[in-house]
Homo-oligomer: 212 residues x 4
DNA sequence: TATGAATGAGTTTTCATTCAT
DNA sequence: TATGAATGAAAACTCATTCAT
């Protein structure tokens, strides 16, 4: 899957006055909905267009092709999340609290935007090429945020210093990712945000009884 | 993605004399290779056939359709793994040791069969429908094995009894799954099996320093 | 290819005051450039518009459709050529000299406007329907001019009277057309106008040695 | 227009036993018919398929794409012509007679296969890229045949030796090409082959009366 | 069982053209 | 007149699947 951004500036990157009608975002939301419902490969661009209330050709005015729709959806949601995460974490001192807050933000955004959650947890995993491509950008930034909090916690003696922070960040991501996938596949009938605390409890304390 | 098993018995389930030539398995191995390389949706059935050294039509003598190829690949590998896991775990008494052994088996099989690992970690995730379908069968069995070990550990005081065993089993699966995905996407240049111990260390003891 | 002239009068036919800005001609020149570069069918109207420095919609204020752009280009260039040819030939008495002058004019205009030459020699040939349509108008006029000169030459004993003048006119056109096509395809690295004399030498005297 | 031959051997190049059903040739004939009727760009591959009595997809079993259909049509007809021309010319001693025979063959083949004539004279001229591509292969061979005959005639004093043989070959081609185009566009109501002699008469003797 | 030629449904994408501003 | 965002029809091409041999 080759992801190429449209050469021309996309409307969602244009100054407000130009993107006043928000067509670009409407198409992305429609794409999330359709991809979540049918799966990326089975989804038809014309379904996305119809859902967005525009003509087929209009989709191509804003996005280079179907792939770009998926890629842009990912970027858009990731930027949103990372920006909010940075803001929220800035006001928290304790590393444990930071991780909890980060986790809650991650989970609550997914609960608010279930379509996007499905795309992230299921549709985005379909191609090794796609994943490789993105794990080097936004995902890396996500992991870096976690890593910095963990190192911070190690410095103040909250977390075991012997553990490699990158490794721990990946472990935590794995935990959260798995919870999210599980929630998505279980049709979301349980409260995901409420899982943040128990998950982090195990992450912090492990499952062993011998040191309680 | 509708998964329908061929009405007729598949060759790999036939008595030895009928499956003597092992064509069914050859096709599955070819499918793993091709799916791993091109991705399930981009893979062509004719590529699978050519890789397996059979004609296109022959694939349809053993499998109902392209979907069935993916489904059968999953079942085949899962049965293999679960059988081996049950055998190996039977000889181990300690719950911790059991989890370590289970993890090592999971990881080492992936290292031995990288194509299958890729299909499991990447290609199988492409469709919510597909995942829902399978998370109810083999995956449930996988989780059940973990759960039993955990409850065993809780009974003998190895693990915290306050934790919900099903929840803990999912957490562990998430950890292992993430490690595997990471290994697959990082092009497998690091030793996966060697990660079993550090991962379980965190799983058992958590990352907190205050109870060391 | 259906060629329909816009019902409204085209700007290039309007009184000077209306076509003061010469937008119509600018669009035709842009069309020549773009058609020459990409070929008529591959050329996009929006490319023509951009090249002409106008908006896409503006093209349709001056021309009925894409076909009309090609047709108008042909008419415009043909009228230009025929007018100049008539003027130049008026001052020449000898039929041979007339043919030489005619040929030189044809060739030198192509050398001056290579884009138009390409459109004439290549792009205009793409459709039997299109060619049939135009061979009945301007091309007929072109051939008529040649025919008159030939008949003039026959009257004064310069050319063989036994030859059918219409046939000879077509032969000469064929010769010139072929030279032009060759020059266009050979990327114009040789001097086309200089070919006028040798071509006419063969046309006048043939290739036989026995009557030299 | 990028012309790429299918990597796999095309059926019309296969040994007789494999191409027994002649599907490849049937498709080429259908393509000639459809291209002649609608023009290459307006022709739909599905029309070609229907005319050939095969499914759309079958066309792609024998030809890489629509372009390849045109290119193969050209090659196929050219090879046919060149082979026959070489055979026929072998038995003729006189250079004049050779040119006459060559011309008659060219014209009579067009009269026998009007669709192919149309494709050659009209549809093949649509793209400078296409023409450049082919003028370097088969057309070059055609011109070379003419050139050799002309040089042969020059050696024995039949043709003026002062004339450049390559130039003369192109002139003759231009003459024949023009006759053919004219015949095609005039809807073939006149006898083309019968034009061979008068055309060559002018070619040999020119139009001048002064040396008769 | 095995083959592989043939099928034809299905979808992305392009781009000429329109029309509200 | 001029704009250019939006439209949506249209077609090349792919490939899973079938079936006569």
């Amino acid at each position: 899957m080759q992801i190429k951004r449209k050469a021309t500036v996309r409307a969602d990157e244009l100054p407000d006055e130009k993107n006043r009608n928000g067509k670009s975002e409407a198409i992305l939301r429609a794409a999330a909905k359709v991809f979540a419902q049918s799966g990326y490969f089975n989804a038809k661009v014309s379904d996305v267009a119809r859902t967005a209330g525009v003509a087929d050709g209009t989709v191509y005015l804003y996005f280079k092709n179907k792939d770009d729709l998926l890629a842009s959806l990912f970027s858009w949601a990731m930027e949103e999340f990372l920006t909010r995460a940075r803001t929220e974490l800035a006001g928290i001192a304790n590393a444990r609290e930071k991780l909890l807050s980060f986790t809650r933000l991650h989970f609550s955004l997914f609960e608010q935007e279930r379509d996007i959650a499905i795309v992230f947890q299921v549709e985005l995993r379909q191609s090794a090429k796609f994943m490789e491509q993105f794990s080097t950008t936004y995902l890396a930034e996500y992991l870096q945020m976690l890593r910095e909090i963990i190192e911070e916690g190690q410095k103040v003696g909250l977390f075991r210093s012997a553990l490699n922070s990158k490794f721990v960040a990946k472990l935590l991501f794995g935990l959260l990712d798995e919870m999210a996938t599980n929630w998505v596949l279980s049709r979301g009938n349980h409260n995901l945000t409420a899982m943040a605390e128990p998950v982090l409890d195990v992450f912090f304390n492990g499952v062993s009884a011998n040191h309680a």
